[in-house]
């Protein structure tokens, strides 16, 4: 059988040529069609997904109290009196994680002293100064003796000195030899302690000269802001997860655009809070846009 076909092909060369031309043409046609069909399928999928999206804004409200995450030190502490015994500043970035940084009072008896300070930076892009109502400082520490109080202060950028003037509490904290939480609020004097770029310096020191050489373990030191802002409630009633990428606050005089990056699962109601957004007075419209190109609108006054 093979011999017969081979003989025929050898005799009729035009037949071989025709077969080659047809085969190559078929390859080209299949390449074109498959490419176009596959791409068309992909784009149809995109359009189908867009149709399936169903997101809406169910509520928009101004809120007066938003607490930011804790901002922690990003470099080693400055030790003015005493010394660092162990650990690093990174051990003070997360509370209750089993790691801490240890300091010890200086060596000159009977005038043992400890004074450490760290620099922290508030995220003013998320929490602009105009939205902040106050700042809180929190310390989690453990002292080896209970003989003296310990104090938190912040650097006053106007007076160029560490101070606790205007704090809600200036009496300091008496340790218990166990892990203690010590927090202060800067009340309405916070602005003196926050530089225009969001930098804060926080100092932790002992009460004064004493005859006991104390060791201090610092598990956590952080600051956070209490700010006002706006809360948006998004509802996804579609079958697909929505990726919200754009937020608009529109009134008669301004169309303000914000980039956002929020995912709302199918069937989920999600509260999204922004401290850098203030709702305008009078009538306004809030619009949110998904990555697939759908829009949800909320109007209020």
């Amino acid at each position: 059988m093979r011999t017969t076909i081979g003989l025929r092909l050898r005799r009729d060369r035009r037949g071989v040529s025709n077969i080659i031309v047809v085969a190559l043409s078929l390859v080209i046609i299949i390449a074109i069609v498959s490419n176009v069909v596959l791409w068309s399928y992909q784009m149809n999928q995109l359009d189908w997904e867009k149709i399936q999206e169903d997101v809406k804004i169910s509520n928009v409200t101004s809120i007066s109290t938003i607490r930011s995450p804790w901002f922690v030190v990003q470099s080693e502490y400055t030790v003015t009196s005493g010394s660092r015994v162990g650990g690093t500043y990174e051990d003070t970035q997360v509370a209750n994680d089993g790691s801490w940084e240890t300091f010890r009072e200086g060596q000159k008896a009977p005038t043992y002293r400890l004074d450490v300070s760290g620099t922290l930076t508030l995220d003013l892009s998320s929490y602009p100064l105009w939205s902040i109502s106050t700042v809180e400082i929190k310390l989690r520490y453990r002292a080896s003796d209970t003989g003296e109080n310990w104090y938190l202060k912040a650097y006053n950028w106007t007076a160029n000195v560490f101070s606790n003037s205007g704090f809600n509490s200036t009496a300091g904290h008496t340790p218990t030899k166990n892990w203690d939480n010590y927090a202060v609020n800067l009340a309405d004097q916070w602005r003196s302690y926050v530089r225009d770029d969001g930098t804060m310096r926080v100092e932790f020191h002992d009460e004064g000269n004493d005859a006991v050489r104390t060791t201090i373990d610092i598990d956590f030191l952080g600051v956070r802001v209490v700010a006002s802002g706006t809360r948006f409630t998004f509802e996804n009633e579609g079958a697909l997860t929505c990726h919200l990428v754009s937020l608009w606050i529109i009134n008669s005089t301004n169309h303000q655009h914000y980039n956002i990056n929020v995912f709302v699962n199918s069937g989920q109601t999600l509260n999204y809070t922004r401290s850098d957004i203030r709702l305008p007075s009078g009538q306004y419209t809030v619009r949110v846009v998904t990555k697939r190109g759908n829009t949800a609108v909320y109007s209020a006054s």
Partner: protein
């Protein structure tokens, strides 16, 4: 080599075969290039998607905020307001990018305008927008 120089009849089939092969290769190259160009153009045209996020009537102009939601970059080629082409600032948007398209136009308050944005590959988005009072 000696055989070839003695038998001149053997050169003709070799040359013809080489020429045929060259022609076949050239033909295939042209066909493949044409295939690529045709499919690429089709893909690009099919892959264009964009939306108008916002239309802002400003003094002496209409600002249109566009977002590219397709799979290829787009370039705005024309903007029509009430079916008349208008001048605008050039705008090219990569995939997932967005930006303002400023159209020079003196509009009247509390009027409805039909605004159409057309890309260089022919995709278009059109809608009616009411100007503020």
């Amino acid at each position: 080599m000696r055989r070839l120089t003695r038998d001149k009849r053997g050169i003709t089939p070799v040359l013809s075969n080489v020429l045929l092969m060259a022609i076949a290769v050239a033909g295939m190259s042209i066909a493949i290039t044409a295939t690529y160009v045709i499919t690429n153009n089709l893909r690009e045209t099919m892959g264009e998607r964009f939306i108008v996020e916002d239309v802002w009537f400003k003094t002496g102009e209409i600002a249109i905020y566009l977002r590219n939601t397709g799979k290829i970059p787009i370039k705005v080629a024309a903007v029509y307001v009430n079916y008349t082409a208008q001048s605008f600032t050039s705008l090219e948007l990569d995939v997932d990018s967005h930006g303002w398209l400023n159209v020079t136009y003196v509009w009247d308050s509390d009027s409805v305008y039909h605004i159409k944005v057309v890309t260089s590959r022919g995709a278009q988005v059109a809608d009616y927008h009411r100007s503020p009072t």
